[in-house]
């Protein structure tokens, strides 16, 4: 099994840095960007197997990024991150083609399970 490439898009670098390291420890290849624009170019330049996208970001919003990714790569799975309890945002994202959504703070094991599930599709 080849290493899975994950693209992490989240403005909170402290969060993405630590999460990236943890995923790398679990044999994932992780690329992190801290805004929507960079995320979109990363998808084009270095296509990942899966995108983990925070919905709440300054600048280009998570939903907007999701829509653009999906318009060009309808088959690329996107896993959304939302604040705790923001179920509506997650559901709205799923209506726009997201694979699933998870609430922050994350449980690493649940995240791994979701990534595996997405990869298995």
């Amino acid at each position: 099994m080849t290493t899975m490439k994950v693209l992490l898009i989240d403005d909170e670098q402290e969060f993405t840095g630590a999460l990236a390291e943890r995923l790398e420890l679990r044999d994932y290849t992780v690329q992190t960007v801290d805004n929507g624009e960079d995320g979109l170019s990363a998808v084009e330049n270095n296509p990942p197997h899966i995108v983990v996208l925070d919905l709440k970001m300054p600048g280009l919003s998570g939903i907007e990024v999701l829509k653009r990714i999906k318009s060009r790569h309808p088959d690329l799975p996107v896993l959304l991150l939302t604040g705790y309890g923001s179920t509506e945002d997650g559901i709205k994202g799923m209506q726009h083609g997201a694979f699933d959504y998870m609430m922050k703070p994350l449980n690493i094991d649940e995240l791994i399970a979701k990534l595996q599930e997405a990869a298995g599709k």
Binding site: E12, F15, G83, G85, T87, K104, I108
Partner: protein
């Protein structure tokens, strides 16, 4: 009733004077209404009293005047007729004819047949001697020169005397008319008139028993018999009032001490005064009867007014009280929901802001754990691992708190389905049975069979039941705790679910704040959100929640759930 009592306890203002306030309000209203109705009524009574009194008095006086006038005319007419008759005799017959006894007799009999009251008829010669006489007495040859009537007739030509006894010692009056013979000598024709005729005229007035009517001459000597003031020719004890030819009425006290109306009139052509006396008490009798009726009507009106005011103020004050209570309740609910909403917004903000740092702590600690686990043993590895695990657990706990805060604040969208309340209760109990068993708390279920399915939100109902049952669990003592859960159908629109415990119970102060957010008695570990969320959810689902509690005895929470959305009939 119980629900009302609970609601009242829950929402009564701290001021305990409110009952007294309504009593005062009612009293003030009653007094005011009584005054505004009674004062005009009393004024009317007095006005009517006086008006009726003067009306009755005036009517009586008028009647007296009319009667007086009529009687005066009868007397005057009577006397005038007699005088005319005598004048006719004196002028129609010659002195010779009048001096013949047969002729005089004929004339007398004719006159007696046509005019009542004539007693005799006589002719007096110029020397003052009665030369011819027809009548029951022997008066022929009597000399009249000394009589006032004889002198008077020469001055006036005709004369009507007062009543006097004269030669026959019997009260009568005399009508005399002068006649000149061809030689120019003055003869006089005189006739006596029985005053019994006067009595007939007075009798025709048909007076009441207590009334009196009589004639007087202008010296105040009684001319016809009086019932109360003396016989004929007695001096009348009542002084003659001022002269008037129109009937006048005066009120006075007579010498016998009686209150009387004295109606009198002076005759214009004759020297008589007619007195008509009527006792005041007599004519006022009808007034007293009317006064009695008025007082009865007044009394009945007062009783009726008092009764109506009593009932009306009772109803009004009761309504005002209910309105006040409802307003108070609505105000408290509004206050409560505003509090909930503002606190909710703040809570949501706090939860969101805390989420990000929590996520960072979570990942950093997770990374630390990952790294540690992949590192060879070193001196404090186990201790660090333990510390990291503790950090991660705390983050979990914080996550739970933000979840609850958001759940409270966001009023998650309600997802209505058809649900079996008993089933949900069983599911919730599944979570708590372990704790109950461990603590040896007895949970009794009393769930109604064939309970209608409700149209509601499963997740939110679960949360409500979970909150209530776990609260009950925290309230009871290990080993002796007992929790009674009941579900039943209240009516076709409403279900009831109650959770009853024999725990520590609550003070009234606690009860008053029980549904407010952040109000907690679990010092140190309660968020104070559980019951507030419960309250919010139940209200949102269209139901109602009531609580009854007694310190040291236990608490009962009762939930009223609508079977269909919006169908609950609230308190029962």
């Amino acid at each position: 009733m119980r629900i009302f009592y609970i609601a009242q306890r829950l929402f009564t203002l701290p001021d305990q004077v409110s009952e007294d306030r309504y009593v005062k309000l009612r009293r003030n209203m009653a007094v005011l209404m009584f005054l505004v109705t009674l004062i005009p009524l009393t004024i009317m009574l007095f006005i009517n009293y006086h008006q009726y009194q003067s009306a009755i008095r005036n009517e009586t006086i008028n009647q007296l005047r009319v009667l007086e006038n009529k009687t005066k005319h009868s007397f005057e007419l009577f006397l005038q007729e007699r005088l005319s008759a005598v004048k006719y005799i004196a002028n129609a017959y010659s002195v010779d004819q009048l001096s013949q006894e047969d002729e005089l007799k004929n004339i007398f009999y004719t006159i007696q047949q046509n005019f009542s009251g004539f007693v005799d008829l006589g002719v007096i010669n110029p020397e003052g001697v009665q030369v011819k006489y027809v009548g029951p007495y022997d008066l022929e040859g009597k000399d009249y020169t000394g009589m006032p009537s004889y002198q008077e007739v020469h001055i006036k030509g005709s004369y009507i005397s007062d009543v006097f006894l004269g030669y026959r010692k019997f009260p009568h009056l005399v009508v005399a008319v002068e006649r000149k013979d061809p030689s120019g000598q003055n003869w006089v024709v005189r006739a006596s008139i029985d005053i019994g005729t006067f009595n007939d005229i007075i009798a025709s007035m048909s007076l009441e028993a207590d009334s009196d009517a009589f004639l007087l001459n202008r010296e105040g000597i009684i001319q016809t018999p009086s019932k109360f003031y003396g016989g004929v020719l007695d001096k009348c004890p009542i002084d003659l009032p001022p002269k008037t030819f129109q009937p006048a009425v005066i009120e006075m006290t007579d010498p016998q001490g009686r209150e009387i109306f004295l109606s009198y009139v002076y005759f214009s052509k004759q020297e008589f005064v007619l007195f008509l006396v009527k006792e005041c008490s007599l004519l006022l009798r009808s007034w007293y009867a009317l006064k009695g009726q008025m007082l009865v009507v007044f009394g009945l009106s007062v009783i009726l007014i008092a009764f109506i005011i009593f009932r009306l103020t009772g109803v009004l004050v009761r309504r005002i009280k209910h309105a006040d209570e409802r307003r108070e309740l609505a105000f408290r609910e509004l206050e409560h929901s505003q509090k909930l909403s503002s606190i909710g917004q703040m809570a949501a903000g706090v939860a969101h802001e805390i989420n990000n740092p929590l996520a960072i702590i979570n990942e950093k600690a997770g990374l630390m754990q990952d790294v540690l686990e992949r590192t060879d043993d070193f001196k404090h590895k186990e201790k660090f691992l333990g510390l990291v695990a503790s950090i991660i657990r705390s983050v979990e706990r914080a996550r739970g708190i933000t979840y609850r805060l958001l759940g409270f604040a966001r009023r998650l969208e309600t997802n209505y389905e058809v649900l079996d309340v008993n089933e949900i209760l069983h599911e919730v109990l599944g979570f708590l049975e372990k704790e109950a068993e461990d603590r040896n708390v007895d949970i009794e279920l009393d769930l109604a069979q064939n309970l209608p399915k409700v149209h509601s939100d499963q997740g939110q109902l679960e949360q409500v039941f979970l909150n209530l049952i776990s609260n009950a669990l925290s309230a009871v003592q290990d080993g002796e705790g007992r929790i009674h859960i009941r579900s039943w159908e209240i009516n076709e629109n409403t279900l009831g679910v109650s959770v009853d415990d024999n725990g520590c119970g609550m003070t009234n102060e606690t009860l008053r704040h029980i549904f407010e957010p952040f109000f907690t008695t679990k010092k140190g570990y309660g968020t104070g959100l559980g019951l507030s969320i419960t309250y919010g959810i139940i209200k949102k689902l269209g139901g109602d929640i009531k609580v009854a509690s007694k310190e040291g005895v236990g608490s009962t929470f009762t939930i009223y759930l609508p079977v269909k959305t919006g169908s609950a009939e609230g308190t029962v």
